[in-house]
Chain length 384, copies 2
């Protein structure tokens, strides 16, 4: 059992480890960027799923956090986060009742709940759920999601923004709901490898968002906010003049997939701050095996990278099933010995975090550091 | 909150659902196969991670279950499973102490713990941990793992089986340890698509296992048991005359990846019994979006297949991120409407199960059935 004060070497494996010094630098660099760019920052907490980390982001200047699921919002609210945006559609009546109840809870604490919609049934469901609350005192912020390139949720954008305008009007006239603006996230743009490719994608997204905002405003409905962006593209949304709020989340930990992007020189330099600590459990003639497989790190965005703070090894990680990883020397060099520690940078932080109940937060680096504290993954497994 | 007695239609999404009727047929078919083939069955519980399901397998004739991790063994033991085999290497002193403690606990209940080794340090560590127990009354069964084609853990096989013999001898002379036989699992053979390809792989594995057994026995060490096999190949191990025990696990649920194998006519016909229940949450002009992404089902072995008990739809599932899936008609046919239920057969059951705290166990089918009970995923997240 890992405890605060333990040497990092004593942490049992596999473990999900935060390098606190690196994470705090990432936190401050992003907060500073948003201040300079004069945009609001509402980091996506679907990535870290932790109330403690969300509160740190808010203390550093974020206006609140995004989540993707009703149950994520509930768990973060239980953990003391008061300003939450479910940047996703919810349609089941059981969940809508929970959304309304949470809106009341947060309002009673001086906070706010927001949610996205992309159709009339969702709006009517939200209005009915809010009307069914005994207090009827809270107001739910509702963003109309528009499809700015992702091809997933959101209404299509046409020159007159007919669909978005109709939805905005329906929200505005629904008691208990407030039309809060446009949700305009382009997820597919985040991992376009070249800077110019990402810039081109977001230039197009921002043009669609701007045209929609203008059309909705021409129809007599003020659009208070346009919100979107991720860690791969936020500099472009910030510079667009259209986006008022950035939703980037992964900057806090920087996974292997984001680090594989060509670096945007206008973005802060983020460091890897999240690692899976693994151990060599078997040695072969030309490979070694670690005790971490794809139950220890998500592989949807590819394999983890081996991170060697000692600089002694250059190792390639090979998928070897649910509980094992095979390491081979990338350059014919040495292999770590039985029992040695191996650090992995996950391919994708969000679903990797979702495999763990806690973070082991280390101060003083991965080699000589110690466990400063354990941080709960409050919304681990919060799927509904 | 899902409760026993609820209609299946009322189960909130995403949810991990067992079709109990199908699962019980799979359970009985495999038990019956093992009885007929006169081999022991020790299903791999790394797949279902549930003490209740392990106890059902044992009640149907299994001698016990396998697990892959020390913490999995601990959680299943807490759930009343008394005969456990950690079919994997453990080398960290902290874990070895837990292994020894668990061996004592199970022995005190009339059960047994077994473990695999593939090197001297592991054996010495186990012996030291057993010697450090105050009782010193328990004996740990130790299997020597040999590499029969997987290329992961296990000692290499040579004609004289020098490495395996040396390890078996070291186990046999270590107080508190008992040499229990050979671990000989060929994981890579499980998903070779053709029957003949799988047969050829296991013919080779069985020859290596047989030669090793004979060499170890020539050295004067009886080999009580050869254990291995998975859902893709167990008929070949059973017919080999070399394997005494089958470790197949996935047969209980049958995921998409195993169903994609060409069917071995000598194997029982297993049915899909594990599903992710999802809901359409957004509709586009030519696609719909469900509320299940790769936080709801593992994608290491590919995407889920859409299962339509109504027969109305032919839908292809497209990965759309952590929390979303996009459905398109496979044949230009209709799409399900907003709010409709969509059933997904996971690509790989083991890491999918590991995303959930409980199974929703349904009786009477996915359309008109009801929730009979909730089954805990006791070893969810048991990584160490």
């Amino acid at each position: 059992m890992t405890r605060p004060g333990d040497d990092v070497a004593a942490v049992d494996t596999p473990a999900l480890v935060i390098d606190l010094d690196a994470m705090e630098r990432n936190l401050e660099r992003m907060a500073s960027f948003a201040r300079s760019a004069r945009v609001r920052l509402r980091p996506h907490a679907k990535m870290h799923k932790s109330a403690e980390l969300a509160r740190m982001q808010i203390a550093a200047g974020a206006v609140g956090v995004c989540v993707q699921k009703t149950s994520e919002a509930e768990r973060l609210a239980e953990g003391g986060v008061d300003d939450l945006y479910i940047s996703n559609e919810v349609v089941s009546p059981a969940k809508l009742a929970r959304v309304a109840a949470l809106a009341e809870t947060l309002a009673s604490r001086g906070g706010r709940l927001a949610i996205a919609v992309d159709g009339f049934p969702g709006i009517r469901g939200l209005a009915a759920a809010m009307a069914a609350m005994p207090g009827r005192s809270a107001e739910l912020d509702v963003f109309v999601e528009i499809d700015v390139g992702q091809g997933r949720c959101g209404v299509p954008v046409d020159p007159e923004a007919a669909a978005a305008t109709a939805l905005a009007r329906e929200v505005a006239r629904s008691r208990g709901l407030r039309f809060a603006g446009l949700q305009a996230y382009h997820g597919k743009a985040q991992h376009v490898r070249t800077v110019e490719g990402r810039r081109a994608a977001i230039t197009a997204s921002a043009a669609l968002a701007r045209a929609t905002r203008e059309a909705v405003q021409r129809a007599g409905l003020p659009v208070p906010l346009v919100t979107g962006a991720g860690t791969g593209t936020f500099t472009f949304e910030a510079a667009s003049g259209t986006y008022d709020e950035l939703q980037a989340g992964s900057y806090l930990f920087m996974d292997r997939d984001y680090a594989d992007n060509e670096r945007d020189p206008s973005a802060p330099q983020f460091e890897h701050a999240l690692f899976v600590k693994a151990q060599v459990m078997s040695v072969g003639a030309r490979h070694t095996v670690v005790d971490a497989g794809h139950k220890s790190h998500a592989v949807d965005s590819g394999l983890p990278r081996v991170h060697d703070p000692s600089g002694r090894y250059a190792l390639a990680f090979e998928n070897a099933g649910d509980e094992h990883g095979v390491l081979r020397p990338a350059d014919g060099g040495p292999l770590p010995a039985l029992g040695e520690t191996v650090w992995l940078v996950p391919g994708h932080c969000d679903p990797t975090v979702n495999l763990y109940d806690q973070y082991v937060a280390v101060r003083g680096g991965l080699v000589h550091g110690h466990v400063e504290r354990l941080i709960r993954v409050d919304a681990r497994g919060a799927l509904t």
